[in-house]
């Protein structure tokens, strides 16, 4: 899962564990995050990703394990000794301060003289296109501007590490896309090692160099967005990535074939027999003619035209299967549909959810 040695990592987590009473929020997490990397922690709510981030920031003390930043063991250091910056989900802009004072606060507590502080804040604010708002209060600017101000405050003292805790979740859909591009561009530009927490798989895929997918306090998989997308190591990861997510059809492996409800698919490699899941992404399915060999029979459930593509959902046995058709024309469909898989794109998972191939 994680073969890099500690020397390669700028942020290194070793056996990091955090208990809240009886709840294990973070469970023996090992991670190596390279210098300058944009690293996303992805997972459903309650999976421990935010706790992991807060452990890196020093806002929580680990129950066990060590944290290294830039080769220095920071496990027992308070936040201000770690030289990191964090952007919070609610931005945490102080309501009684102007944006100038808000953004300048990290400089103020470092004893930077007022003149230098104002100059530096102006510089950062100009860069983020909020320079004309500096004498306003947070409540007097829009959500997108608040978000930029929070980012500016993280940027202003040139920290070693950026920590983002779902910074885009309070923005509406259109602004979120803009902010995504803006943050990614900004991170490339300043080159600061970034840990980004999100539950939005599209956000993680779009922005990060590498992703760690977390479930129940443990890291299920680490890799580049495309690796994790193309080769999910568990059923959970497979089902979490992609929109709509990967189709998972329960069935059996028998003599080199996958046997599902009403269909058989020959597999190129021989696999052990037993219960299994067939995983196939919606874009790797296509509609077939009735009775075509290897076609999966299903009952049409819904057809959703999305503009550049059409999403077809069908009932196959007990599960629903989504098909993405890259066509602008609505297909003429009867009650019954046949779906053909691309055999080279098939994923197989054993009954425990582990990847077989």
């Amino acid at each position: 899962m994680n073969s890099e040695s500690r020397e390669n990592g700028y942020i290194v987590l070793q056996g990091l564990t955090k208990h809240f009473g009886l709840v294990v929020a973070v469970d023996r997490v090992d991670l190596n995050i390279a210098q300058g990397e944009f690293f996303a922690l992805l997972g459903p709510s309650g999976c421990g990703k935010t706790t992991t981030l807060r452990l890196i920031a020093g806002l929580e003390r680990p129950t066990a394990g060590r944290i290294f930043i830039g080769g220095r063991d920071v496990t027992d250091l308070v936040p201000r000794e770690r030289d990191v910056a964090m952007v919070f989900q609610d931005y945490a802009l102080y309501p009684h301060m102007t944006l100038l004072e808000n953004i300048g606060y990290p400089l103020k507590v470092r004893g930077v003289p007022r003149k230098k502080l104002v100059a530096r804040v102006r510089e950062v604010a100009e860069h983020l296109k909020i320079a004309d708002l500096l004498d306003r209060r947070p409540s007097q600017v829009s959500g997108g501007q608040q978000q930029r101000a929070a980012v500016a405050r993280a940027l202003v003292h040139e920290p070693k590490v950026f920590l983002f805790d779902e910074p885009l979740s309070n923005l509406d859909a259109k602004l979120r896309l803009e902010a995504r591009a803006f943050l990614k561009h900004l991170q490339r530009e300043v080159g600061v090692t970034t840990v980004y927490v999100t539950h939005d798989q599209a956000e993680a895929m779009a922005m990060a160099d590498r992703i760690a997918v977390m479930f129940a306090g443990r890291i299920a998989q680490v890799g580049s967005p495309l690796d994790v997308y193309r080769e999910p190591m568990t059923v959970e990861v497979a089902a979490f990535l992609g929109n709509p997510p990967m189709n998972l059809i329960p069935g059996r492996l028998e003599g080199g074939e996958f046997v599902g409800p009403g269909f058989r698919i020959p597999l190129s490699s021989t696999s052990p027999s037993g219960e299994a899941f067939l995983g196939i992404r919606p874009e790797h399915l296509r509609l077939a003619e009735r009775g075509e060999t290897g076609a999966i029979p299903g009952r049409l459930y819904a057809v959703q035209p999305l503009g550049p593509e059409v999403l077809v959902t069908a009932q196959v046995g007990e599960v629903t299967v989504s098909v993405r058709l890259f066509t602008e024309e609505l297909p003429h469909l009867g009650d019954e549909v046949w779906l053909l898989v691309d055999p080279s794109r098939v994923h197989l998972f054993d009954s425990g959810g582990k990847r077989i191939r």
């Binding site: 806002l59 936040p79 201000r80 964090m86 919070f88 309501p95 606060y105 007097q140 920590l163």
Partner: protein, 279 residues
Amino acid sequence: MNLVRFVILRLGFVLVTVLIGTFFVLPLLWLLTAPFNAQATLRVEWPSPFTLRNFGDVFRNTFAIRALFLNSIIQAGGTMLGTAVIATLAAYALSRLEIRGRNVLVYLLVLFSSVVTGTAAMVPIFLLLYYLRLIDTHLGVILVLTGGLLPTGIFLMRDFVESIPRSYEESALVSGATPWQTFRDVVLPVLRPGMMVVAVWAFVNAWGNFLIPAILIRSPEKMPAPVAIYSFYTEGGTPVLTLISAYSLLYAIPVVVLYLFVNWRYGFRFFGGIKGGGK
């Protein structure tokens, strides 16, 4: 038919409201008219003959004036300061630190607070202050009043503290602030409206308290206004209404001014929450 019903209901409502309103307004009207009446009675009447001599007489009573403009200000002001500062710090600690059973603690405090300054505790309080050598001192009065007001003050402040998102403090800590800087720069300014509410509330309570200073203060030059008001009684024990009303009006002014000031500066609210962070 409905219209008749509506009118009758409406009339009934107005009548009841007016009755209740009158009940509360009459004493206030008396307070505003009687001081200017040379022959004030307990009735609300237009001052005739109109006079300002009552105030002149009150101001000649140096004991009562000293009580109002020095002793009461010291005792109520001290109580206000003590209660607001300690309640804020205690509420912050109670809200942010993990203390086992802290909710029980807070409720117990509030429950027993009425006992502390209540009549029932007067003897132990007197003895305690006697051994602390605080009888007949401003400090003694301030400490007892503050102690009595603190539990409710903490309770009120806690609501304000709880309404501050923890991310404010956390972001300050990550930004490089020490815990003390975080409290001073981020928490305290956001809490200020709440502190003002508690401060005014404490001031009004101390300003109007008769029992504590009446028991703890021995020498006339340290007595506050609620005690000194008895100097406007004749030796036979009958109140001199002209002077009492004039003194009462003067006695009411600081509280009204304080309330107006805080309301103008911060806006009164008895709940937490952050809306734009004040003016």
